[in-house]
Amino acid sequence: MEAALKALRKAPPTALFGMAIILFYVFLAVFAPIISPYGETEIVGEQFEDWSPDYLLGTDNLGRDMATRLIYGARNTIGIAFITTCLAFMIGVTMGFLASTLGGWVDQLTSRVVDILMAIPSLIFALLLLTIFGTSMPSLIIIIAVLDSTRVYRLSRAVSQGIVVMDYVEVSKLRGEGLWYIMKNEILPNAMAPLVAEFGLRFCFVFLFISALSFLGLGIQPPTADWGSMVRANADLITYGILTPLIPAASIALLTVGVNFVVDWFLHKTSGLRE
């Protein structure tokens, strides 16, 4: 704890800025119903009303309060991206560790399957699968998690391969330890730093990916508030010189920038310690 505080004090301004952004977003997401002035799907006024004390950021194409939609959007978009990333990590890390520890045909098989899945660009693959399974929330989460887990697999396999060849893992094998003990006690603690950094990066990727799908109308479906679809639905305003639709887009960018800044610092710090 003390070490963490000390590290925090030495963190560069970009990292502190990133952390502040993340905390702010988490706060919005958790307390969305309390903070927001109206209900998520409540129609409160005319279409495209201007900014005013009643509607801080005006209203959208259906007359719903933009500020409210923005706050709920934080909750929905971040929540779904987070769940998807967690799922991708559960699949990817387990398979990656198993492949590297067991080696042999298990490794061959999983790696070839992943090679083939990764040979198809993920946006295209996702579109194909969404055509077939439809754009419901669960299928969205599962499809993206499975596709993204291939990247997690590659990384955790590579990291864990570097650990498996260490003599201390051989010591465990010679002692007669089981597979589970080796994965949990020898590999995981030593793979933690790169995995945490990768979690940040994968979260950003998934978050942008879902936003892009929503923007294309194939992600999170209305009336659920979501930043990607908010941009698309109100894009016409931009042609009239009104920049409100850029706010949800900027919100997406801001969060990803924040996470990236923190990961960048974390990577720099952990790789610096290794030297």
Binding site: I124, A212, N260
Partner: protein, 318 residues
């Protein structure tokens, strides 16, 4: 020399195998549809006779492996079947649009690749300088932004406020090259901005990695000029990582245009794919996916083969 030929041949064979596997996945994905395609398209209310007739038309009465071979054979001859939405020949729909997509990707690549390599090498050479740190923040922000954000900012600024470029890139077959370049300037710029950031960071990382090699230290201790160290000692060993970076980003450009095409209403393959997905026009989705996937795989294959061919250890075996 034979060793290197074997490796290239192996890589090509693997590429072919991947292509077959991928075509199989794209074909089989449709089999996973609840019910079958005919029911899915015609809906629950359709008469059984209509469904049966439709099935015959789609050849759904044949066993899957026969259909796959037939489908693949037809695809390779350029016959992609007909669209369910408007019954037009898919090859006709796709042909021009794929050309447009490639044009846009090439347009962006011609600007992005040299720019990214230049900026990346510069950042690696002046590591931890003010320039390096500033560019780190800029590129991080750039890769953090959704493509549509960048696109709309450019529209708001360069199209609406300044009025320099059109915000809608409508081109057709008769559009001349200059006109085409002008109308697609904004989408090309958007893609350049996104890709340069990625590519520059990757270039920087590979060059830094390379500069830490003992043989680079040796070159410095031999008292060679900075230029000589970079051009003669670092560069010949940097081809593999640099080619990798370029190809990866070319692939990203071709595939990543989807969102940009939608924003600028550009008549490319991505736009068609998105339309077809919302209409659940399965044959068109399949054909577009296959084309994207094949392009992607071929690019990666090129990268791998070039990496083998530029590896001095492999070029001059023991």
């Amino acid at each position: 020399m034979s060793q290197i030929l074997t490796m290239v041949a192996q890589r090509l064979a693997l590429g072919l195998l991947t292509l077959i596997a991928v075509s199989l996945i794209i074909f089989l994905a449709v089999e996973l549809l609840p019910g079958d395609l005919a029911e899915a398209i015609l809906g629950q209310a359709a008469l059984p006779e209509t469904v049966a007739a439709f099935r015959r038309e789609l050849r759904l009465d044949l066993p899957p492996h026969e259909r796959y071979i037939e489908w693949l054979g037809a695809m390779m001859q350029g016959d992609m079947g007909r669209s369910l939405a408007n019954n037009r020949e898919i090859s006709e729909l796709i042909g021009v649009r794929f050309g447009n997509t490639l044009f846009l990707a090439a347009y962006a690549a011609i600007i992005a690749v040299p720019l990214a390599l230049f900026l990346g090498i510069l950042a690696a050479l002046y590591r931890n300088s003010l320039y390096d740190r500033a560019i780190n923040v800029v590129t991080l922000s750039s890769i953090s932004s959704p493509e549509f954000f960048v696109a709309y900012i450019l529209i708001a600024w360069l199209a609406n406020t300044l009025g320099w470029f059109p915000s809608i890139s409508n081109v057709h077959e008769g559009t001349g090259l200059l006109e085409r370049l002008y109308r697609t300037a904004l989408p090309a710029m958007t893609m350049t901005l996104v890709v340069v950031a990625h590519m520059m960071r990757m270039t920087r990382a590979s060059i830094i990695n390379l500069l830490a090699s003992p043989y680079i230290e040796m070159a410095n201790l031999k008292g060679l000029s900075r230029m000589r160290v970079i051009v003669h000692h670092a560069l010949p060993n940097a081809w593999a990582p640099i080619i990798n970076v370029i190809v990866l980003n070319l692939a990203f450009l071709i595939v990543g245009v989807v969102v940009v095409e939608v924003v600028f209403v550009y008549p490319g393959l991505g736009q068609l794919l998105i339309d077809s997905v919302s209409k659940r026009d399965v044959p068109v989705v399949q054909a577009s996916c296959l084309i994207f996937a094949v392009t992607y795989i071929l690019l990666n294959l090129t990268a791998d083969v070039l990496a083998i061919l530029t590896n001095p250890r492999l070029m001059h075996p023991k």
